[in-house]
Point group: C2
Chain length 287, copies 2
């Protein structure tokens, strides 16, 4: 599907780390391939404790000039931005000269979806001569494989719900809506928009507790938006998604294989087995 992952020949990789455990997993996978990683930690997002014993440069979100300068000095031609990023306050951005010169372009990102801030920054970095890569391109290990991750598998009924959910997401795609939906018995219980996947799952849990949902268990179906830049904005699931799905009384979670990031596959599979849920990588409805 995609080109083989870059190797040592591509030189060291500049890895800009947001929050969560994913950036460190990516660093480990890339280093396991023998490629050097130059770490940048986004302040107020990445937790320095997780990087104890490693060398890194702390960075405010707006310090694009600093990032470019150090990455260049270290011989990096490729940059990966990865990890969660709560929208920083304007003060937390601390734009340096390069960012300041382009602040209106960056600020525009704030009006859109979660990752527009990042994708606007990436354009600036590309203009500085860097190549922006998706984390899954340099560490394909983080992508969901096809098939079940844990012990359980979807039933025929679950598969019918998954197909229904994928068809809905494909139809809703042109409207740039959220990437997830909860389907039970070929009936849509919830659609994700601004509230995010966890918010949607919490709602299903509440509606079920209030007995306002009488449908059978149901499935969380997640897929990338048709128009999203798959380098920076792949859907992702983690053990917390499994727990939220369990609280919502669901039978399982379906994601698109090779187009979904699984932050901690082993922990996630364990959580799924413990909760009695399936987590399955499936083919997208458009192949």
């Amino acid at each position: 599907m995609s080109a083989p992952p870059p190797t040592v020949a591509d030189g060291p990789l500049a890895l800009v780390c947001g929050g969560g455990s994913l950036p460190l997993a990516v660093a480990d996978h890339v280093e396991a391939r023998g490629r050097r990683v130059v770490l940048f930690l986004l302040r107020e997002a990445a937790d320095p404790k997780d990087y104890a014993g490693r060398e890194y440069t702390p960075l405010y979100v707006g310090q694009l000039g600093k990032l470019a300068r150090i990455a260049r000095t270290q011989g990096c031609r490729e940059i990966v931005l990865i990890g969660s990023l709560v929208r920083p306050s304007l003060w937390g951005i601390r734009p340096d000269w390069l960012a300041l010169k382009n602040l209106s372009r960056i600020a525009r990102g704030f009006r859109g979806g979660d990752n527009h801030l990042l994708s606007n920054s990436t354009k600036l970095l590309e203009e500085q001569g860097f190549t922006l890569r998706g984390a899954h391109e340099v560490a394909p290990e983080i992508l969901a494989p096809e098939g079940a991750l844990g012990r359980l598998r979807p039933t025929a009924d679950d598969h019918a719900d998954i197909e229904f959910g994928l068809a809905y997401l494909a139809a809703a795609g042109p409207f740039d809506i959220g990437q997830a939906v909860v389907v039970a018995g070929r009936h849509i219980l919830a659609v994700e928009a601004a509230e995010g996947t966890d918010g949607m799952l919490a709602r299903v849990a509440t509606l079920r507790a209030e007995r306002r949902i009488r449908a059978p268990r149901g499935v969380l179906v997640k897929a990338p938006k048709p128009q999203q830049d798959r380098r920076f904005d792949l859907p992702s699931i983690g053990p917390n998604t499994v727990e939220a799905a369990a609280r919502a009384g669901l039978a399982g979670i379906a994601v698109i294989a090779k187009e979904t990031v699984v932050a901690e596959p082993v922990t996630l599979a364990e959580a799924a087995d413990r909760a009695g849920l399936f987590v399955a990588g499936v083919r997208g409805s458009q192949g």
Copy 2:
């Protein structure tokens, strides 16, 4: 669009009343046309206090045989079911012989959307020789007119959001999803499914309070599902919808003219003016 409303010539009308103020408004409109109304009040739904001084027959949801018998005795050939109905407990249904004989068909209704219970009951009543009419067919006064109901009108930006919302609802229609969506700046903030319109608006209010929505005010767009039986399941709005939309910080509400029930148009227009919102009847995206 629809046939002229029935008149005295059609004989008295059997009006089965659920909760809310709409049933009484329908009774008044029908009587104002000189047609006699025979009232049935659904227990645990209609509030008998609202019907003080009127003659009526109390009815459990399952007493279809009793309904058919009395309606026939009173010379009614047409029946209208109107008003809200919280799904009754199985005990609260109290099926009589006619209902009991068909309980599996009625029970099937519980698995679907809100009004499947009613529409399954209507089939039984039709088999008993009655014609089931929509409340708006006998009292077209309850339908939203085209244009603004209160003082305010949608701006050009609001109209763009309305068109976007209608296009989304048309695309999502085949999936039998909820009838409403919140759009701000051509960006979908929330989609209604099992939580209902009020639940969705409460979510938008919360997300805005948490500053997780930075988009401009936005519009609630409501439309009938393509496949719904317009006799029994037209979308409806009331003063409470206006208040929920105001709490969500919206600029206004758009509904499909002539295909949306407005329970209390005067109270609703006053509420809209007070809250600084527009409420507009628009043409559907498919004409």
